[in-house]
């Protein structure tokens, strides 16, 4: 349409008359959207910082109370007591591992027979109970209902008999007899089959027999165990008194806080009568300064007893290490004994250092703010909601997150990049059209569903596999925990493979085809071209893919919450590669698990915010680094 035909086209639009046009309106619409996003992001960061940074002064006060009330003093002794208990437990485990290892055959036989029987009763139990209950209640034993129930029971029984568990350590004959005795059991028979009890008795007898030559070890362990009793009773006595002091201080703190609120309200009140009333209330609620001096003096009087108990325990321990056998015959027992022997010198060294620490301890030493920061960042304990003392140390969580990420990346990097190289460089068009959507489809699985599969299928299967005799050379097998770092890492690997795959494939795809052409014209084969030209050219893009995969893994919450086992403890690295089969907790998981339950504004609540800030910073750094690599590739 030309202007001559419709001259009004040239006239300004009615919006334009008011200094406004469609184009500008559209521009402002998008500008305001972008602006809103930035504002919201800024608000989130401000909120995080506001809630989080209040943590450090709050934690400082908690640590101060911990010191003033004397909890710290008690913990000096308790630390050694805990170490003593752990050593005792390791020795006991070694003792039982030795005995059970020596009668492994009887143990397996007994376990297999009772496992078979238990699986059978689990399956038939409910229908059997129905028959029993109704045969007592029914007046005529031949009623129609009872018949049906009996038929149902028989059916269930046949089904259970058809799917009995394996018993590799029983002979064919024994198994047949056992099954026969199970089959012919009367409905109301509640005893275990004779064969099962016999095997259990055989096992117990074997244990007793094997325990005889180990009597010396037994009494050594017992004497070590009882060597700690003096220190133990002293610690529990002191515990009670310091807890009482702590509660007094905390009570006073709360009153003081309320009084401040009242005073603030009073100074804000306009009505003079109202103000006077609030002031009076504040004055009456003025807390008595809690009596700290008295209990602390009492506590400090325990000093000589404490030191004496430590010296006694040290002397006993030094003697007992000499009485322990140098090794044991069973693999697991020998490993445990070696671990105990290894940590023994550290235990004794700690005992020796303790008296000095006890003497040096002062209840009124100041707690600077930096202490609360450093004990957050380097604290080895995350203990919350206990009546003793809350500690917010991030190391166990950070270690868990890191270990899971290592497993996930070790699995996902070769798989993701390998798949990307194959699909882009070697696959036929048909393979490309199948493989790419399938790998990208993994991303569509909601992480909670993946976690669900992880618990029910993967965790169980992995533990069953870990029981195979042929795999016992793998450290950490058989698994103690079904949910552990490795299971979580495997699932996270599955989740990060699509990320790494897609981005790495893009990076490889973005390598100019001229490079490949030049290489081929020089007589390079396809494989040579891929590995000598294409992959090096795509390297920074592939690195970015890996980093973004790492960001995805460390920020993932649902799967780790469900599958990592959620034990808040720094993994025991002395287990070597077996460390990866221990349960752990993560930075993300702890927030998801605890934030809903903590009182708003408490120190614990704020601690979770600081964890959030930390995660935010880590993921932001990773992503920023990844983008730098991507940009580097573009130029």
């Amino acid at each position: 349409m030309s202007p001559e035909e419709n001259p009004s086209d040239l006239a300004p639009h009615r919006f334009q008359k008011r200094g406004f046009s469609y184009e500008r309106a559209i521009k402002y619409f998008f500008a305001s959207n972008a602006g809103l996003t930035i504002v919201i992001l800024a608000l989130i960061i401000i909120f995080l910082l506001k809630e989080g940074l209040g943590f450090f002064p709050g934690y400082q006060r908690e640590l101060q109370v911990y010191r003033i009330a004397g909890l710290e003093f008690v913990d000096i002794s308790r630390k050694n007591l805990t170490a003593h208990e752990q050593l005792t437990s390791v020795l006991n485990r070694a003792y039982y591992a030795e005995i059970n290892g020596r009668c492994i055959k009887q143990m397996r036989r007994s376990q297999e027979a009772s496992a078979l029987f238990n699986a059978y009763t689990d399956q038939t139990g409910p229908t059997r109970d129905l028959v029993l209950n109704n045969s007592q209640a029914a007046s005529s034993p031949n009623s129609e209902m009872l018949k049906n129930l009996k038929a149902n029971y028989e059916q269930q029984k046949a089904k259970a008999l058809a799917s009995l568990t394996a018993t590799p350590h029983l002979t064919q004959m024994e198994r047949r007899d056992l099954i026969e005795s199970v089959r012919s059991r009367a409905v109301n028979d509640t005893d275990d089959p004779l064969f099962v009890t016999t095997l259990a008795e055989e096992f117990t007898a074997a244990q007793h027999k094997q325990a005889e030559p180990l009597q010396a070890l037994r009494s050594t362990i017992d004497s070590f165990s009882s060597a700690g009793s003096e220190l133990s009773s002293l610690v529990s006595e002191m515990t009670e008194s310091v807890i009482a002091t702590k509660e007094k201080i905390q009570g006073a703190d709360i009153l003081e806080k309320d009084r401040k609120t009242l005073l603030a309200a009073a100074s804000g009140a306009k009505d003079p009568v109202e103000r006077e009333k609030l002031m009076t209330e504040a004055r009456t609620s003025l807390a008595d300064k809690p009596d700290v001096e008295g209990p602390i003096q009492l506590l400090l009087e325990h000093r000589p007893d404490c030191i004496k108990a430590h010296t006694a325990l040290r002397d006993a321990s030094t003697r007992i290490i000499g009485q322990l056998p140098s090794s044991l015959t069973q693999l697991e027992a020998a490993r445990l004994l070696k671990a105990a022997r290894h940590s023994w010198p550290f235990f004794i060294a700690d005992l020796e250092k303790t008296p000095a620490a006890i003497n040096a301890w002062k209840p009124d030493a100041p707690v600077p703010l930096t202490d609360s920061i450093s004990s957050f960042l380097t604290g080895k304990d995350w203990v919350t909601g206990g009546e003793w003392q809350d500690f917010y140390g991030i190391l166990p969580l950070a270690a868990g997150s890191l270990m899971i990420s290592i497993v996930a990346l070790v699995l996902a990097i070769p798989t993701g990049i390998g798949a990307a190289v194959y699909v882009n460089q070697f696959a036929s068009p048909w393979e490309q059209s199948v493989v790419k959507p399938i790998i990208e489809f993994i991303q569509a699985i909601p992480s909670v569903v993946l976690g669900f599969i992880g618990i029910l299928v993967f965790g169980t299967v992995l533990r069953d596999i870990s029981l195979w005799d042929s795999l016992q050379w793998i450290p950490g097998f058989p698994l103690e925990e079904r949910l552990n770092i490795f299971t979580a890492g495997c699932l996270l690997a599955l989740m990060s493979i699509p990320t790494i795959f897609s981005l790495a494939e893009d990076a490889i795809n973005n390598v100019p085809s001229a490079y490949a052409e030049a290489s081929e014209a020089l007589g390079a084969s396809q494989v040579q071209t891929t590995f000598r030209v294409v992959i090096p050219a795509a390297f920074s893009g592939i690195l970015a893919a890996v980093l973004l995969g790492f960001g995805r893994v460390i920020g993932e919450t649902m799967v780790v919450l469900l599958v990592a086992g959620n034990r808040i403890k720094i993994p025991d690295f002395t287990a070597g590669l077996g460390t990866f089969f221990q349960p752990c907790h993560t930075l993300t998981g702890i927030i998801a698990q605890e934030l809903g339950e903590v009182p708003m504004g408490s120190v614990h609540y704020r601690a979770l915010f600081v964890v959030g800030i930390l995660l935010f910073a880590v993921v932001l750094t990773i992503n920023a680094t990844a983008h730098r690599f991507v940009n580097k590739m573009k130029h």
Binding site: Y515, G523, P536, A537
Partner: protein
């Protein structure tokens, strides 16, 4: 398997015999007959889309990678060996028939590694041999004096003309016998173009060059023989001096005098 194309003979002439070539169902080259002599420069000229580059890429079988492209009739012999014979290893063929592309395409690594690439592919690990070959190739490509102090720097830092000469050095470092050039100067300024042409002139006693070009002056300056392509056919193939002074066909004359193209 044939190790070199025909090691006994020094003959590296290229003979294209009754060649038909098509992409899918559309024919691109029709009944091409060419006898390209050895140790000289042969230019392919002609308007865009007439099949010059396609024929060039047939000589080292770069078209093998294109799924729908195939030779429907005829064959190409180099030194008497049919390069489309099933016994010819395409990787080895390309070691004898090097190629330089229209757009310079050095690898994103050091100058040294670019030139050494072909040798390393061949499994050459001896540092002394590599050093010597790299230096020699860079000398041949008249690039040595410009880059000798920065061999370990990225090749992408070179100017366009230097990059193209580096690509030539990379192609001749493996001592091919035929060098194919697909419009090697189309992206270069006149000075860089002159340098590349000089280079071809200096090297032609040792190699057989085949050059696709849109630049008539270039064809007349550097080549001994010229083939004029039109609509997938070779209209005229003769000594360059003769074609440019006294073309036999009217189409040729129209093209070289710039009446179409």
């Amino acid at each position: 398997m044939i190790e070199r194309l025909n090691p006994s003979s020094k003959d590296i002439s290229i003979a294209v015999k009754d060649l038909d070539f098509s992409y899918g169902s559309s024919p691109v080259l029709k009944n091409i007959q060419l006898d390209i002599p050895e140790n000289g420069v042969t230019s392919f000229i002609g308007p865009s889309g007439c099949g010059k580059s396609t024929l060039l890429r047939c000589i080292n079988r770069m078209n093998d990678e294109i799924p729908s492209a195939r030779i429907t009739r005829g064959d190409i012999e180099i030194g008497g060996v049919n390069i489309y014979d099933s016994s010819v290893d395409v990787v080895k063929l390309r070691r004898d028939v090097g190629m330089v592309f229209q757009k310079s395409n050095p690898f994103p690594r050091s100058i040294y590694e670019n030139v050494a690439y072909g040798l390393r592919l061949r499994g050459e690990r001896d540092k002394a041999v590599l050093d010597q070959s790299v230096e020699q190739a860079l000398h041949s490509a008249a690039l040595w004096d410009e880059v000798k102090d920065r061999l370990q720097e990225s090749a992408l830092g070179l100017s366009g003309g230097q990059q193209q000469r580096l690509c030539i050095a990379r192609a001749i470092a493996v001592k091919p016998r035929v060098v194919l050039m697909d419009e090697p100067c189309s992206a270069l300024d006149p000075i860089a173009t002159a340098k590349v042409e000089e280079l071809i002139w200096d090297l032609k006693h040792a190699y057989t060059f085949v050059i696709v070009t849109h630049n008539m002056q270039q064809a007349s300056r550097v080549s001994d023989k010229t083939a004029f392509f039109y609509m997938g056919e070779v209209i005229e193939f003769s000594d360059t001096s003769r074609m440019f002074s006294n073309p036999r066909f009217r189409k040729t004359e129209e093209y070289i005098t710039g009446r179409f193209g």
